[in-house]
Structures are given as C-alpha cells and as structure tokens.
Symmetry: C2
Subunit: 381 residues, 2 copies
C-alpha cells in the first residue's frame, strides 16, 4: 500500500468554531442562501484587514481584501489582471518554488522565468542578485513565504533589503504567496508559532505589494474553496470587477467558516504547529539517520522537508529525467514524494510530515531501504 508524503494538504480536522459557523449558516434557513457581493462578505473582508493590521500592516482596509474561490483562483486573477501579452508579462520566480505557478502564469498569458537559489546559501535571495535579474519585461516578482517546498522564511530584515531593490522599479509588482504563514517553527520561546512576517507590514510607497493567501493550510480549511488577495486600491478594485464578471461570491457556508477561523487564527495555527511538531522531529531524525545522509535544512515553516537526494540520480540521464525516474522508483518502493525537479531542484524530494505518525514511520523505513539499495547499486556500477 502506497504511502503518500506528496500531498499539499494535511489531514487536519476542520476547526470546531469554523464547522459550527458553517452549520449555523445553513440550519433553519428559511429563504435563499444569503449571497454576498462578489468580492466577499464585508465582515469577512474587515476581519482579515484587521488581522493584517495587527500583524503590522497599518494601511490594509477591508476594500483591499478580495475573497476568491480558492487560492489558485486568487493567483490566476492577479496574474490575469497584471500580465500583458506582448507587454511586460514576465514573472520572476526564485526557485525552488511551488510547481503549480508555471501553469497559472502560462494560462494567464505570462512567461515564467526562474531565478535559481542555492541550498548552500540557505536559499538566500541576495539584493544584488535580485537587482541583476530584473529586466524591463519583468512585471512581477513572485515569492512564497514561508517557501514551498524549502520551508525557508524571509525575515522582516530580508524583506526590507529586497524591497530596497524593487522600490527602484516602480513598474514591478511584488507578490508574496503567504498561504503557509501560520505553519512556522521558531526557537523563540517568547513567541512560539508566531506567523511569518507578511510583506504587507513593509512600507509600500509605490503601491507595489500584493499578498495572496488562503485558508487551507494555516487555518485547516482545505476543501472549502477559500482564497484571498490583498492588493493596492486600484488593483483590488479591478480584481473585484473581474470576480463579478467571471465568477461570483464564495458560498456563504465557506465564508462563515472563514470568518470564524479568522477570529481564532493564532490559536488554530499554534494548535496545528503543536500537532505537527512530533512528526517534524520524527522526519528530521529519520532523514539524518539515512544512509548517505541527504542534505536538508530544518525548515522554519511549512510541513515539508526538502531534501537533497541528488547523489542517487542516474548519471546517464539528464537531471530532470533522472529526478523523475528517482521519484517513480521511490513510488514503486511504496513512498510517494513530490519530485524536486517540478520545483526547480532536480534530485530533491519534498516530503510532507502532515500525515499520520504510523504512516510516517513506515514511509521512513521504506525510504531507508530504498536509499540503502540505491547506494549499493551505485557503488556496484
């Protein structure tokens, strides 16, 4: 029986307050289901704006927040509104990064350009590197924070340094995908599990900063079809018009669940992190004990470990093909992982620990056997 460490979703129970709110929105309903404006229920938009203000984003108002039918929909809406076919339509994506961006950008009429970062530098994006990479056709710098798949988190100081560069390019937008914002593991006992620093807390004199987030990871509301964009006023207005024209409001039960969860966001995030902590330590220890010890950083955020198995790649194949083959062979050995080649890092595997502990233990056992066998094979070659 195949064990999947490849899913992007944990198997977290729906937070009780959210489930209760969704049921309440339906029970005893006499007329039609209430329909909010397309951009979202005013009280939900206000609650999200208030939460961002608590996190240091003083300028965020309800009208800057758009509720979308899922986080992919939020990303596609932003890409579609800001990328101009034949004009500035390039998205600069530091990698490793999430494998889904390429298709979203392509279908919105844009071009994705990767900017590879090095594990040896802890995936740091140096301001000078960023400046060199920006071109006139670059419309959007796209970051994930915490990063999927590496778990790397940009600190407030790093944000400030990077925005010192992007501020010199007023035609550029900076889009931070912060869907894992609440899945963070700090050593600071004063503020354990504090959310990752949001881009919105940084000064934005040119109105360049856009945040996309969702409810499926940090608030355990996977499957509720809920995403959000926070954008400067003009872009937010265009996104609201777009959603009215092409879609409509997210259904009331999902918005009710989102409102309740937003009111308890810190508690829900902290509970998830506490729940994840033992598995996190189990997977970190298991990887350290593997034959050949793959390289990886203990990530600050997300529920993934992104580990370097490139020593196991078949040298006769090109890197992407070899990475795909390695992932397929591991699957044949009973463990499904995300091929790092799809994230811009062939030879790496993204392993989720948001799974049942017994599954994780068995997956580690199989991974150990697989790696040991590959090492023997490679030595014999």
């Amino acid at each position: 029986m195949l064990i999947s460490l490849a899913s992007g979703y944990g198997d977290f129970a729906v937070p009780a307050v959210a489930l209760e709110a969704a049921v309440q929105s339906l029970q005893g309903l006499a007329g039609p289901l209430p329909v909010s404006e397309a951009a979202g229920a005013p009280e939900l938009r206000a609650a999200l704006a208030a939460r961002y203000r608590q996190r240091g984003a003083a300028q965020v108002r309800a009208e800057h927040v758009i509720i979308t039918p899922g986080t992919k929909a939020a990303l596609f809406a932003v890409f579609s509104e800001v990328l101009r076919p034949g004009g500035a339509n390039e998205v600069l994506l530091p990698t490793p990064n999430w494998f889904g961006f390429g298709e979203l950008v392509r279908r919105a009429g844009g071009q994705l350009r990767e900017l590879p970062l090095r594990p040896a530098d802890d995936y740091t994006l140096a301001p000078a590197t960023l400046r060199q990479a920006l071109r006139p056709e670059t419309r959007l710098l796209l970051l994930t924070n915490p990063n999927n798949p590496t778990g790397r988190r940009y600190t407030a100081a790093e944000w400030a340094a990077l925005l010192g560069v992007t501020g010199d390019f007023p035609g550029l937008l900076v889009l931070s995908d912060e869907i894992y914002e609440g899945i963070v593991f700090d050593d600071d006992p004063a503020a354990p599990y504090a959310p990752a620093p949001t881009l919105l807390a940084q000064p934005d004199p040119h109105g360049q900063h856009v945040v996309v987030s969702g409810f499926s990871k940090s608030l355990a509301l996977a499957g509720w079809g809920l995403g959000l964009v926070v954008a400067p006023p003009a872009l937010a207005a265009r996104l609201a018009e777009r959603q009215f024209a092409l879609a409509g409001a997210v259904p009331a039960p999902s918005q009710a669940a989102a409102l309740a969860a937003t009111g308890h966001a810190e508690a829900i995030g902290a509970a998830l992190c506490r729940q994840l902590q033992p598995n996190r330590e189990l997977l970190l220890a298991g990887l350290r004990a593997l034959p050949g010890q793959p390289d990886f950083a203990a990530p600050a955020g997300t529920y993934y470990i992104f580990a370097d198995f490139s020593r196991l790649l078949a040298p006769s194949l090109p890197p992407l093909a070899a990475s795909k083959a390695l992932t397929a062979e591991l699957a044949a050995a009973g463990v499904l992982a995300v091929d790092g080649g799809t994230c811009g890092a062939p030879g790496f595997l993204r392993l989720s620990y948001a799974v049942a502990e017994t599954d994780l233990r068995e997956a580690l056992r199989r991974l150990g056997q697989f790696v040991a066998a590959r090492h023997r094979t490679i030595k014999l070659d």
Copy 2:
C-alpha cells in the same frame, strides 16, 4: 423605497432536500472536509449525466460533465479554452440576450458579434439567417434556451433545423446556455413544466455541442457557487485540466446540495413554476392594462417579461442613451428594471416576476403612473 424587478435571482427558499444534504455533509465531521477531484464529485457528475440521458441525450457520460464554481465560471472556462486570440475567436450571439456575455467573451480574448432578431418574428432565428451570419472567424454560436431576457424557447424542431446549418461548419461549436431550463410554462396539460428541450438531445456527429447550466435558477440554489458544463470528451478533458490548474473542486456542502437537488430536479422545477404562475399572470395582465400597451410576448420560459417601451424613448437621444435614460427615470419613479439596451434591445425593459406579490403589485402601480406621465409628456412635446 425602490422595488427591484431587475434581479436575476428569485427569492426562492433553498429546497429542503438540498439544505438537509448540505447540513449532513458537515454535521459530525471528524476529519477534514472531503475534497473531490477538481472536475467534481463522481456521483454528482454521474447523476447529472443520468438526468441528461433521461431527457434524450443518450451519449452523455459522467466524464463529459464538469462541475464549476458557478455558471459564469463555466462560461468563462469554455470561452477561454476554445477562443483563440488571433485565430477563430468570434462568438455569434443572437440578440436580445443576456448582458453579461460581452464581458465574459472579452476577458477570454474573444470578440462578440450580435445577430439581432426581431420581436415581430417572435425572435425566430431562421436557418438561412444563421447560415448567412456565419463567417470563418466564428468559433462559437451562443444561444440561451429559454432565452434571457425574452423567455423564447427553442423547440426540438427548431434545434434540428439550426443544427442542419451548423453541421456544415465543423470548426464551429454550438453553446447552449440552459440555466433556465426548468422554468417553463407550457399549455400542454399532459406535461406541464417539462424542462426545455436540451441541445444535448440532438445528434452531434461532429462533436460540436456544448451545454452550460447551473443550479441557481431552475433548482433554487442561488448563492451555492455551482455551475456545470457538458462537453464532447476532448473539450471536457481540457476543461477538467483547466479547473485543476486554476481553481479546484467546488466545496463539498455545495456539491452535496447539488446532488440532492438533481435527484429531485423535476419536482423542484415544477414547484417553482407553480409558485411563479400567479405572479406571471399578474405581470402579464398588468402590462396589458398599461397606457399605450407595450408589446411583449407571453414567454415560454424564465421568470422575466421583456416588454417594448420604445414609444417612451426620448427621440433626441441615440437609442442606447435614450434606453439608459428611460431605465434611470423609471428607477427614480421607484422601479428597478434591466435596461434592454444592455441586452441588445434599446427601449425594452426586462421585468422579473420572481419577487413578492405585494412588491409586484406596487411596482405595477408605479409603472402605470410612470408610463401615463410619459405618454402625457410625449403628447405635449
């Protein structure tokens, strides 16, 4: 207090079976909300396919049905997949028709071309007229059946005649928006309130036929974020891929409501029609009694009457501006209606009778005063 006869939604209560199913999908849920594949839950797709087969569409299988987050989303997905910027990207739209299509087509990179039909012909689309209107760049013929705003319904015989033309253009798709399919008023006592004939029941040797529908009108599930496409296999597969890349599955409570409502579709539609019938007669009688008697047809479907008030237009203005002004002046007199100018028919008003009876009576009283005053003004000019 303004009375709106302009809304596209009735104030129908959620069908009890659907509400119950949605609550059941949530109550006592221990783990995460179940997530279906992006194209929709297999049992819902199968139930919809079975219903189309019952209606004479023998070839429809579950995999041809894609569940989308709303009906606008369904239309936008089809337009985006089939219109080719720089290639065949024209949508031919017989008018009057729904005002929202223009924006959907434009944002998908297409061009809308109107084919005006005449009220004097009962809005008939003659096969010869259609043949003459088709051009190499026409990728899609777009019909609504029953038509919004006129309520005109294409019979099976009319479908057959029109498809005799479109079958000669194998690069053309025929898209029938059938969202009002269950809101029909027949004189046939043997089959009162039988759904409108679906395009899918017609032979489709070249795989050209696409149907979009939803749950918000004929199944009283407004606000649940539910639409659907039925497409030939290759297009259905592309739509499923698209939805996986850009969106995701409609949330489980909405899909549960949709499944329950689909199982009771005929009963729900008939109940809605019976509920609408007195208001329908009230509005028809009220319009006939108006000074100057506006022209209108007693429509076979939808809960609108589309009536000709063009004798009230200010002759000094261009038709579209005069139509907009007339609608604005009626709103100032307390009745909100849809300006026929936005539907391709300046001087007409779309009046919904899916409102409370007391509101409809008061709206008719105001409309009577407004029309009488305009007639006096016009005579005095």
